[in-house]
């Protein structure tokens, strides 16, 4: 399958090589029934190598997750076999139920119905902290 074979859906392009699978699981793409193709270490003029994910369905993508894991990706929206929109993502100010607080003393550790909320506290260094206990989110693998 290449881009041409997607009728209505999207291509997440320019994913940092090696991050495709992480995005696949965080975006919960395994729960979709439509065709999905993941390209790993694809040759790219811009990046050397990159990962790419093609989704053959018009889904509601959580762009916060993309921005958190890999803010340099581009999203191509495909309709009737054509790219109708190219989108970039930005570092989200807030992450809701994307990552979990690992602090055993945090209120979220004993009240599981609470949303897991992280806020961007240092944009330059991409630091996210738990809203409740201010514990730093685990470093992203770069």
């Amino acid at each position: 399958m290449n881009i041409d074979s997607i009728k209505n859906g999207m291509v997440i392009d320019h994913i940092t090589a090696g991050k495709g699978m992480e995005l696949y699981s965080l975006l919960k793409l395994d729960s979709l029934n439509c065709p999905i193709v993941i390209g790993k270490n694809v040759v790219s003029r811009k990046l050397g190598t990159k990962d790419i994910i093609k989704i053959d369905a018009d889904i509601d993508l959580n762009t916060d997750i993309l921005g958190y894991v890999d803010p340099d990706v581009t999203i191509n929206i495909i309709k009737d076999g054509k790219i109708i929109e190219k989108k970039t993502v930005s570092l989200p100010e807030k992450l809701v139920n994307v990552i979990e607080c690992k602090n055993p003393r945090c209120i979220t550790s004993c009240e599981q119905e609470l949303d897991q909320v992280f806020t961007l506290t240092d944009k330059e260094n991409r630091v996210y902290r738990c809203l409740y206990c201010e514990t730093k989110a685990k470093e992203q693998s770069h």
Binding site: N103, I107, T108, C110, E113, L114, D122, C130, L131
Partner: protein, 304 residues
């Protein structure tokens, strides 16, 4: 609805106004004795802290208000499995303001997100304890008359001591403040406090193991307890603990107007022989805590 969960939520202007109110309460207590008539403070203490609870209760009584609540989790609904959110909603029906202590970090924030009345964080685990910092600030103001141009020594457990971290955050907002961070190697200030607070605010600081050496330049000495559990072995603890016990001898080279503070309870880190020294401010600090809690209750309830 305004709450106070973290000391950083208060602007400098609000802090000044709280301090002005507290100073006015000290001068004219009778003026405030009926300000909270008919109002109820709920003290929700999911872990015991008699000292903090009594301070809140005394504050509310001196404002002419009433108090209800519980002093440990086993006598509360959480023992039956009720969530903090539900407790906060339920208490909102009975009281006008909540003071909450909880062993889990962030619990008072969850309460404030669900209550329809103001919530004051009365300590959430090792995380925040803003009213302790308010007590510290009023003490500094009353003793020094200013917040700027002060050299502040923080001594003891700087790694786990939340009161120390909050005080650094609060004092780093003023001009000309310098910190001398005095601790054993094992209990040095966490690096994030240096990068996220001190460096960010451009605050001058030095780290040292030597309390006596630091003493002569200090305007304020803030002592904290070094707990045995923080050390890997008994020998290290025994070797180090005496160097961080304040006694009259160590004060020989201190300034005449040094202000000695401690969040209390004290175990042995300040010798009782220091208590009669006019520079000892720690019991006054506890009293100041009550005045600041009174000022805070008035502010959050919107009572002038």
């Amino acid at each position: 609805m305004r709450s106070l969960i973290d000391i950083k939520e208060l602007s400098l202007k609000e802090l000044d106004s709280l301090i002005d109110t507290a100073l006015d309460i000290i001068e004219n207590p009778q003026k405030y004795s009926e300000k909270c008539k008919g109002k109820k403070l709920a003290t929700l203490f999911f872990e015991p802290s008699t000292r903090t609870r009594l301070s809140f209760e005394a504050a509310m009584y001196e404002l002419g208000g009433n108090v209800l609540g519980f002093s440990e989790a086993s006598s509360s609904s959480s023992a039956k499995g009720e969530s903090v959110a539900d407790t906060a909603k339920m208490i909102s029906c009975y009281a006008d303001i909540i003071a909450m202590r909880h062993p889990k970090e962030g619990a008072p924030l969850v309460a404030s997100m669900n209550a329809t009345i103001p919530v004051v964080n009365a300590g959430d685990g090792g995380h925040n304890h803003p009213t302790q910092t308010l007590a510290d600030l009023l003490t500094i103001k009353r003793k020094k008359g200013r917040f700027n141009n002060l050299t502040i020594g923080l001594c003891g457990d700087l790694k786990f001591g939340r009161t120390v971290h909050s005080l650094i955050a609060a004092m780093s907002r003023y001009e000309g403040v310098k910190f001398v961070l005095i601790s054993p190697e094992e209990l040095r200030i966490p690096s994030y406090v240096k990068t996220d607070v001190l460096d960010k605010c451009g605050i001058e600081y030095v780290e040292t193991k030597d309390l006596c050496g630091a003493m002569p330049e200090l305007d304020i000495l803030y002592m904290t307890r070094i707990q045995k559990e923080r050390f890997f072995n008994e020998e290290d603890y025994l070797r180090l603990k005496d160097s961080y016990i304040l006694d009259p001898q160590k004060l020989e080279n201190a300034k005449k107007d040094l202000c000695i503070m401690h969040p209390l309870p004290r175990v042995n880190e300040i010798s009782v022989k220091v208590d009669s020294d006019p520079r000892a401010c720690y019991f006054e600090q506890a009293l100041n805590g009550k005045y600041m809690r009174m000022a805070l209750i008035l502010m959050l309830l919107g009572i002038k």
